[in-house]
Symmetry: D2
Subunit: 269 residues, 4 copies
Amino acid sequence: DSQLTLLAGPCAIESYDTCAQVAEKLKEITNRLHINYVFKSSFDKANRSSSESNRGSGLEAGLTILEKIKKDFDLPIVTDVHESYQCEPVSQVADVLQIPAFLSRQTDLLLAAAKTGKVVNIKKGQFMAPEDIKSATEKISPITSKILVTERGTTFGYHRLVVDMTGLITMREAGFPVIFDATHAVQIPSAYGGHSGGLRDYVFPLMRAALSVGVDGIFAEVHPNPPKAISDADNQLYLSKIEAILETANQIFQENLASKEARAADGLL
Amino acid sequence: DSQLTLLAGPCAIESYDTCAQVAEKLKEITNRLHINYVFKSSFDKANRSSSESNRGSGLEAGLTILEKIKKDFDLPIVTDVHESYQCEPVSQVADVLQIPAFLSRQTDLLLAAAKTGKVVNIKKGQFMAPEDIKSATEKISPITSKILVTERGTTFGYHRLVVDMTGLITMREAGFPVIFDATHAVQIPSAYGGHSGGLRDYVFPLMRAALSVGVDGIFAEVHPNPPKAISDADNQLYLSKIEAILETANQIFQENLASKEARAADGLL
Amino acid sequence: DSQLTLLAGPCAIESYDTCAQVAEKLKEITNRLHINYVFKSSFDKANRSSSESNRGSGLEAGLTILEKIKKDFDLPIVTDVHESYQCEPVSQVADVLQIPAFLSRQTDLLLAAAKTGKVVNIKKGQFMAPEDIKSATEKISPITSKILVTERGTTFGYHRLVVDMTGLITMREAGFPVIFDATHAVQIPSAYGGHSGGLRDYVFPLMRAALSVGVDGIFAEVHPNPPKAISDADNQLYLSKIEAILETANQIFQENLASKEARAADGLL
Amino acid sequence: DSQLTLLAGPCAIESYDTCAQVAEKLKEITNRLHINYVFKSSFDKANRSSSESNRGSGLEAGLTILEKIKKDFDLPIVTDVHESYQCEPVSQVADVLQIPAFLSRQTDLLLAAAKTGKVVNIKKGQFMAPEDIKSATEKISPITSKILVTERGTTFGYHRLVVDMTGLITMREAGFPVIFDATHAVQIPSAYGGHSGGLRDYVFPLMRAALSVGVDGIFAEVHPNPPKAISDADNQLYLSKIEAILETANQIFQENLASKEARAADGLL
């Protein structure tokens, strides 16, 4: 497509106000830049490192907030599902059901999500090779063609992920749009024992790299005040800095799009 | 404890007969060797690489077979759970509920398993550092003290796992018995695209290594005819060879136990 | 600097003619694009996987050819050194002495190269973290300030390298220009037992990614007929396709340079 | 062979006295246990992380000390070589020339070592797959059959090595005795920026594991006072604790040897 897609918002649904603040600003920026924007936030951080960690709003309260955001800002919504039974109620509000990376091989969850008729965004497991995403998409492609696949980094030793940029090309071969999750890719799993750290400074460079390789969309967690966020405090982007980031991101996306035809003509990827 | 624990059986519940054949032989061998034996088989291969793969008996039919094995051979049972709702019915039959490695961070599943009062065996995720297993046990240790932790290998590049034997020592620091899953540790994830391969020849050497380092138990998939098994055909052990393997395994376990006190006296691990 | 640097040429010095063909074309293209070009070729493939492999021209014959290229095309020269005694004679011809990645921790070689007064290009070992390159540069920075550091990928499981794009940022902190070696980064070490394979299709995407993150130069092996090359046949770039690649590369370099100031003003990397 | 081989001694040749203290005690213990002992110490730590680090005695002074140890204690000697020119003088004293892991692909060094007629111990590079050691041995097997291959861990993310115990089996297929380097396997490369750390507590467990899998020998650095050692202070073993360690190691070696035949008869590795 000729428009960049952006899946973005605060990591967890902390309150309507936090969500609204992010939604409003991102809607305004993406409208101006002609970016295809989907509001993202999670009702449950179901796989926190530790049970001390705040898990967020919960399903019911979370969906109520997401529904209000959807209506108040006229935005499509993406949110995570964790067990099969959640897919149906979540699909009443969400336009995109997201399969968390750890769960990318859970057949029942994938099928339940696919059966809702909504778009399914499968995050590639940290334990998967890029070509393995195809086995995941093939589980649901007989049911739905509305599939996205997302890269968020691969296990690299202990407490570290690495993004293999060549994997973005391999993932494309599954036949569906490829999203790069720039904020989770810089997570440091269980950096602090009980919870994960992150390298926020690397989010924007990795985003530029992925866009130069060529992806269809960007996933990013954005918060008005990341250090106060209940999750992913070390890697969410500051809402105040997101405009400059998206301007550059969109420019790289457009230039890459433009040079793609020339590259194809030259037999270059 | 002074007795080796063994969690073993066919990977998937293919039929009562296959299960019975394995249960009978393993019961006889472990009785003779004074090994603490728990029969293992799975009613659902819920995270197969591909949806082409056979997923096994299903919950209801599987539990019926497990119940019959339990009664006919007077054996405790261990089996996997994949979503929270399964824990209660599974606990009607199983003595040990096993949390699959990919799901080792799913808080709801861990809690549902813990609440049954049965033993919970948490497999360490392929994406986790050994010290991270503590965050998993701490999620349920306020509810139950009946916890096992299992090592089954760590993501090492693409399509390969590696067993870090030092991790067995680190995992012990969580305060619960450590099991080494010798047959999954040699899996080659998605080796054949649609399904995983394995290196059966390495199962027994890795088992010996883990027992020399010091573990409380061994997990192994055992099948009368592995090449015909519906899952893990490349890494299940042959039932016909299991006696020799268990004799050596038990001998290493006992010798390690004996030398442990001497090592402690010398200030050596 | 405001000009992209390019270290490029055939992997091994196969003949004067091959070298001249590449040098002539690359000189012409880089002149037009205002790229700072250094001719690269190796007189000895000293660390071939197997001794069956052709090691190239040898020191004396190789230097004779390099000297002729230098003179005939008025180009600076970069070539590898493998043992300390080679540094002095090589420095009679080469303008840049390159320390191979496997040898990046050999203090004697680093010192001998530094003492020649020529530029030293240290390739980061496949076994090194990005921050470790600083220990290498600090070994010679008391002697010389003419240092380049080059990323060529990190060991990632068996028979695979991965490029961690965030490492390019960390390497910059050592205080010297950062080069991205795009053709070695796609090597598959010992893919074929006796010799290494490569993923040529990924060279250009990785180059684009590294330039978007921000590097000072690109290293690439270029050959008139890669499949016939005596080494790195699977990853050298075709001379016939290099112009289109360099045009895009230079464009990304220039755009990244332009947006760098804006990013700095916004407190973004 | 029916005897365990031990390559051991202080990491660096710090002084005759340190060497003699270790040599005397290890000779006495290994005599009693019928272990085949080779004294190890290095005249040059040629690949220190940083040039601040003490590199040891140097070639000439180091060989003088090694020669005296050899004569005074009637022991064979193993020491590292780093550049080709060192092989001939070192072979005047040493019985085993050791190729450091980083240098395991340097053809000239391998050939120079082989040509001395002494035993060549090739350490497997941290960047090599186990099957790749065969390419290294094949470089010199036309010249000499006196070859040992040594495992010392594989790069695993940043600042960490992992020992893949299955690799010990694969390495055996090259056709030469396999040694397990237990003290370098626990190094934490560049843990402290300028120098490497280590996990001494894991040396003995890893040694037990490797012996249970089956190796021909053990390599270990042993020092009277490791915290005061000029190198590898965090991973050298205490001389005062070595006796208990070697007793257990030898016992596992002998038992593994005994069960090997039974395993072979059962078609088990």
